[in-house]
Structure formats: C-alpha cells, structure tokens
Amino acid sequence: MSNETAEPTTTSTDSGEEAMISFSGVDKIYGTDATEETVTALQDIDLDVDAGEFVSVVGPSGCGKTTLLHLAAGILEPTDGTVTIDGIDVQGAEHDRSEVGLVFQQPVALEWRTVKKNLLLPVQILKQNGAIDESMDYYRERADELLELVGLEGFEDAYPNELSGGMQQRVTISQALIYDPSVLLMDEPFGSLDAMTKDELNLELLRIWDETEKTVLFITHDLNEAVFLSDRVIVLSPRPGRVADEIEIDLPRPRTGETRSRDRFVELSTEVHQHFKHQR
Amino acid sequence: MATKSHAHRRFVRTRHWVTSRVPTVIAGVVFLVLWQLTAMVIDNNRIFAYPEYTWRQVSERSDTVFIRIVETFSSIAVAFVLAVIVGVLLGVVIAEVYTLRQMAMPIVIFTYAIPHPILAPVFIIWFIVNPGAEIVLFSFTGPSAYLLDSVTAADAAQSFAIDGVTTFGAWVGFFPVFLSTITGMNALEERFEQLGTVLGATRWQMVRYFRFWRALPNIASSIKATVQLSIIGVIVAEFIASSEGIGYQIVLAWKGADLGYMFGVLLIIMMGSYLFYQTVVWLLKVLTPPGTIE
C-alpha cells in the first residue's frame, strides 16, 4: 500500500511566474464525521499547471481523480493545503467563478431547457451575480458559434432527451466554454462514449483548445487518450492518491489521427503503461 | 484487538442511535411547553385544556380508555393484515392477467378517487343487517383486566374479528399494496423473462421464483402507506359510524363538551398510531431481506 518506491515529484514552474492551477500540500480526507470510517483520498499533492498547458491525470478507478478536479473547481474543500487558480485561493471570496469551466463525467443538461437555453444557463447565473459583464445578446451569438464549433448547429431548439449521448456530451462541453473561462477542468468527459465518438471528440477538443488557448486539466483512465491529448501526463498512485510520476509528452502539435501510429506515441504510451503496471 | 474494535463499533452505533433520537425527544419537550404556554395564554379549560387538566380527565376514565385502545388497535391489526393479504393476492392476479388488468383499470382509478369515509357507514350497515357475516378470528381477555382492578374479565372481553370496522379499514388500506404488487411484478427485467423462457418455466413458476420477489421491495415500501391508511380507516369508521373503540370516544367527548378528555383521547390516538406505524416499519426491516426497505 505504501508508496515509498516512487519519490513524490514536485512540479513547479521554472521562474517566479505563477502557475494557472496550483495545488500545494493538498490532503483530502473523506468522512471526518466521528461515526464514519475515514478515507484518505489524496495526500501531499503538489501540482502546478501552467497557463495554456494541457495536463492529464491518470490513475486507477478510485484513486482520487475526481476528488482532485473537484478541489480545483472549489466544489470540495481541501482537508489540508491550498488550491489556487491564477494565484487566488478557490475557497476564498475573491475566487472568480467565470475563470473556471468544469466538464462533468455525465451530461448535466437540464431536461426542460432546450440545448441553447442550457448553454445560456451559466451565463444567466454568472451575470446575475456580477461575475461577467458582456450583454446577453453577445452570449446568444456566442452560443450559436459554439454550437457550430462542436457540430450541433440545427439542434438549438432540441431538448436534451432528443440527443444521443455523444451530442449531450458536446452540449456539456460547450456549457463550460460559453463564458470563456481560462481554465477548463474535465472529468473523464468521454468515458461513457464509444471508441469512435471518443476519437472524434478528442480531435475536436484539441482544435478548440488550440483556438482558445485555455489551460486544461483533463482526467481520464484511458492512458492512450492521455498521451494523445496532453503536454504532460500525471500518474496518481492508488489509495491514498499521490503524484507517483509525470511524463512529458513531446509529440508535435497539431496532433491528428495519424499521431497515434507514430513510433514516439507508441513509446510514450508504453512508458505510461509500464509505469502503471509498476504501481500495482 | 478484534473484540475491542467490535465493541467500539457497537458503542459508536449505540451513540449514533441515541443522538438520532435526540430531536424526537426535543420535539416532545417543545410540544409540551408550547401546549402549556398556549393554555396559560387562553386560560380556559373549555376552549383549550391544560396538560394537567387533560391528564386528570383521561385518568379518571383510564379503564374505558385502556379497553377502547386495545379494541381499536386489535381492529387496526386485523384491517392491516387483511389489506396486505387481499392486496397482494389480487395484485398478483391482476398483474398476471393482462385482459383483467385492462378491464379493471377505470374502476380502480375511480374507487381510488372516492372520498372513502362516506363508505364507512355502508360497511357497518352491511354487517349489522347481516350478522352472520362477522367472523371472529380469536377472542381474548384484554390486558386491562389484569392491569386494572376496576376492570372485570367480562368488560375486557375482546376479539380479533372481521367486521364492519375492520373490513372498512382494510378497504382503505388495500390500494397501496395492491397497486405496488402490480407495479413490482411487471417491473421484472427482460433478461429474467428470457431466462425463464430458456428454462421453460411455467407461468406459475415465473410468479413464484421471479415476479413475486421482484415485487417484494415495492410491496414492502407500500406497506408503510397501508399501515397509515388502515389506521385512518379504522378510526374514521369508529367515529363516523360505530360506537366502538377509541374513535367513538372522541365523539363522546365532543358531545359532552369535555375538552380535556377530547385532547387526551386525540393525543393517545396520535401517539398510538405513531407507535404502531414505527413498529410495523421496524418489523418489516427485520423480516424482509436486507436492502428491501431503505
């Protein structure tokens, strides 16, 4: 169980420049209530993600990936340590909600709203709370652009129940993009899709990322997917989740379907897989 | 070491149980205090009885109250058991026979929507004009004869019987079990149907080995509603149409403008119903496979 073989790797940016997403000394323990048994989901997490970087986190199921992401999103509070976005503690009052977009594991479209109205929901809430300034018309136009970007033009007035799983997941992605957050947190967004749709959406995601220059923290349990998408892959060890290793992915961009057949891809993929087996 | 942690876990569980009961106790105390305060503000036992006055009025007639409560809850028990048995049996039949289900649907919806108390007197009348229909299942001398000196064995003679009150209680309580049996039986997953076909199971075997068990969680959770409704049915029948049980005591108190007694009787009905309900829910949890009831 203990994890002494792999030295915890501290990742920090070279110079004094602040990282976009930063975990420092983060522990997360569930069930501190006296009657329950406690679960240490994450321990000693130090992790920095630079602006514009695409970082994936991989690890076996139950190792704390979702927990990590929810900590970054401010949904969970760390038991110890701090999580900052753009230098600001996500638990603090100054945390800017419009800076962070979260793409959930399951679609979150509300079934009584049309696709377009679902896209505009975060905008309505953020605007009412004074977190964004642009006019509603601006966002309506943006919604149309986004729907086109993710290939859902013509489905503005459809209801979520009328869409396939893949299409719903596109809605969820655009929902996180509509208010143009600089950070995108994604929790196994394609986990429930079939392989073909997944490959297609992977390419689309990279295109969007390329166009919008966002910082992405991407959770997956698919190692090949992580290698294909990322600049860097972080490997979490199981229970308690710690950073076991990180692997720089030096594949050239833009990446295409052809990238997967490169020798370097196979090498890197093998490296990640190797490491993974070593963990068990 | 192992025993220690086991003991510790039991300690934690006991403590958890105790703390979870704290709100109920607090609610009881708050209720009593509010009652006393309101009574002090109104300060008129004919408009709002003091707790102390209520206690006095009830304890004066404690023997009657005791006998009547046992009578009422015997009826409720019969009504409840009857409702469950008839509900499940009829449910199984209706669920199995598609044609019958279609034919029964409008009648079921209609009878469900009837404000049922109006029917209570009709049930009572049927048993009055046709005395032979009453079935005494089991006669006994009520506990009051042993516990109170003033009560003779003859006074406390009681029985579990199928009569106007209990059939009406069963009628009111019957619907949830009946409907949930149908839902549950029909919710059997396709793969079990296919398994049954592969094994060449007869219709009766399908019911016996698959459908009934699939319906059990539905039935168990609907039994909660059935308990409540059986209680309501019996008490309504008592106070609307008969001169039996604790329900009729409300009417007596009302006619005698005896507010203390009325408060007391109502309180006893409420507490008795609550306890009866909790007991049945607890029994269900013990008797059904784990996880059947949340």
Binding site: L126 | L179, T183, V236
Partner: protein, 286 residues
C-alpha cells in the same frame, strides 16, 4: 409508486402479444369498457339473482333510481362542498410550497422540523374533526361570518396540507449530485438553485401531491359536513345513512367519486402540459 403502477396499468408490460400502437389503444379502451359493463352487469345479476333487499344491497339500477331522485338536492348543496374543498385545496397547496422552500433551503430548519412533519403525516389527522367543529362553534375570530361551515374549510386544509408538504419537500430535494456540483461551479445562490433547477425538478412531485391533495381535501370537507351537519354533500350522506338508505349513500359516493376523478384528471392534463419533458400519470403518490 401508485403513479408508476397506473402508468403501467395502461401499458402492455409483459411483452405477450405484440400489437401495433393504434390497435393497441383501441383494444385497451374496449377492454376497459367491457370491464365496466361486466362489473355493473355482474353486480346487478347478483342483487337480482339472490333477491337481495335493495334497501341494503342495491343494484346499479336501484342506485341509478336513487340518484335521479336526489339529483336536485345534490345540486343545491354541492357548491358548498366544492367551495370548501376547493378553497382548502388551494390554500393547502400554496402553504405547502411556501413552507417547503425554507425547509429545503435551510438544512438546519429542515433537520429540526422534519421529524415533526413526518410524525404529523403518519397520524390519522381526520380524527380531530370533532375538535375543530367544537372550536369553530365558539364563534370566535375569523370564523364568525361563515359559522360552523368554517370547520369544513379548516379540515380540508388540515388533511391535505401535510402530504402535499412532504411531496413538495421531496420534490425540491430531488436534485442529483452532479447538478448540485454544477451549480456550485457557477457560484449559484440559493434562490438561483430554486429558480433554475429545484422548482422544475419539484413540479412532477407537486403535481402528484396535488392529485392526492385534492382527494384528501374532499375527504376533510365531507367528513366535516358529515359530523357537523352543515349543508353539503357530507351532511346529506349522514342523513341518508341514518335512514339506512344504502342505495342513496352509494349514489352520493358515485357523485363524489366522479368529481374527484374529474379533478384529478384535470390536474393530470395540466401537468402533462406544464411538465412537457417527462411522462405524467393519472394518479399521484399514495
């Protein structure tokens, strides 16, 4: 639970005999009609065949005859009953939603009051009818102008309120974890949670609560009238019963049942319009 069943009752659930939808519906309707005819026919046959006394064991034709006889008086008192039940129902509905919102919005308030709400919901609330009539009989406070009939309004609210409250609370609470997390990410305030998610999620529950709620409001009113004797269908039933005219009693039950069924059906129609994203059912949670 009951909602589910009645949805299923209308479906061909067991997969025996695949028929296309149009014929399927026609078949269903004709079966229902056949069921009704068989039921009435069987009832009539039993009462006739055994030569039962129609005063105690009336057949459908006896009931029909009684109904046509008391039709006029029913029409004169019906407005009283319907008004009390209707007003009581609406008051209970508005109250149940108004009370449910703070109970769901504040965990503390909810935890403190839920045991009380559930407790009151499990006891036979109808039993306090004589007490309410007794109090209203004092002619104090707001009841002065309406007199004893006020008790019927109070009973309707008192009986219908708690199940509707619990339905509304269950509804407002029926939000899944993912949606809740989404709202946290957007920094939604409590009122925004209700405005954008909880209200819509609660609607099917509230509608189901309304269906039982109306039946319960009718029960409260009718029992109130039955006991107090204020003009209304309940009082009429009471006097009919005292003369052991079972046929008339059943005629009255028939009228009340038809009214309740009609209102429940109306609520269902409104529901299937409003809650367009979800299939509705005729009878709500029991």
């Amino acid at each position: 639970m009951i909602a589910d069943t009645l949805r299923k009752l209308g479906d061909r659930v067991d997969g025996r005999g695949g028929v296309r939808l149009g014929t399927e519906r026609a078949k269903r309707w004709s079966l229902s009609l056949l069921g009704l005819v068989l039921f009435l026919g069987g009832w009539e046959a039993v009462t006739r065949g055994f030569g039962l006394n129609p005063q105690y064991y009336p057949g459908p034709t006896d009931v029909y005859r009684e109904l046509s006889r008391i039709w006029e008086p029913i029409l004169t008192v019906l407005p009283n009953t319907l008004e009390a039940a209707g007003v009581g129902f609406v008051v209970a509905l508005v109250l149940s939603i108004a009370v449910a919102i703070p109970l769901v919005a504040s965990d503390r308030l909810g935890n403190a009051l839920m045991p009380f709400v559930i407790g009151v919901n499990t006891v036979p609330r109808i039993a306090v009818t004589p007490l309410v009539i007794y109090w209203v009989g004092f002619d104090i406070g707001p009841f002065d102008s309406v007199g004893l009939a006020a008790a019927n309004y109070v009973m309707a609210v008192w009986v219908a309120f708690f199940p509707m409250l619990i339905a509304a609370i269950d509804g407002f609470r029926s939000i899944d974890e993912t949606t809740e997390n989404m709202l946290i990410v957007y920094g939604a305030r409590t009122w925004q949670e209700f405005r954008y998610v909880r209200l819509q999620r609660a609607l099917p529950f509230i509608f189901d609560g309304m269906k039982t709620g109306f039946i319960l409001a009718m029960i409260g009113t009718v029992v109130g009238e039955f006991v107090s004797g204020t003009p209304g269908i309940g009082a009429m039933a009471s006097s009919v019963i005292r003369r052991t005219a079972v046929g008339r009693a059943i005629a009255i039950v028939l009228v009340l049942g038809l009214i309740s069924t009609a209102v429940v059906f109306l609520i269902y129609l409104v529901e299937s319009r409003v809650v367009h994203w979800r299939e509705s059912s005729i009878v709500g949670e029991g």
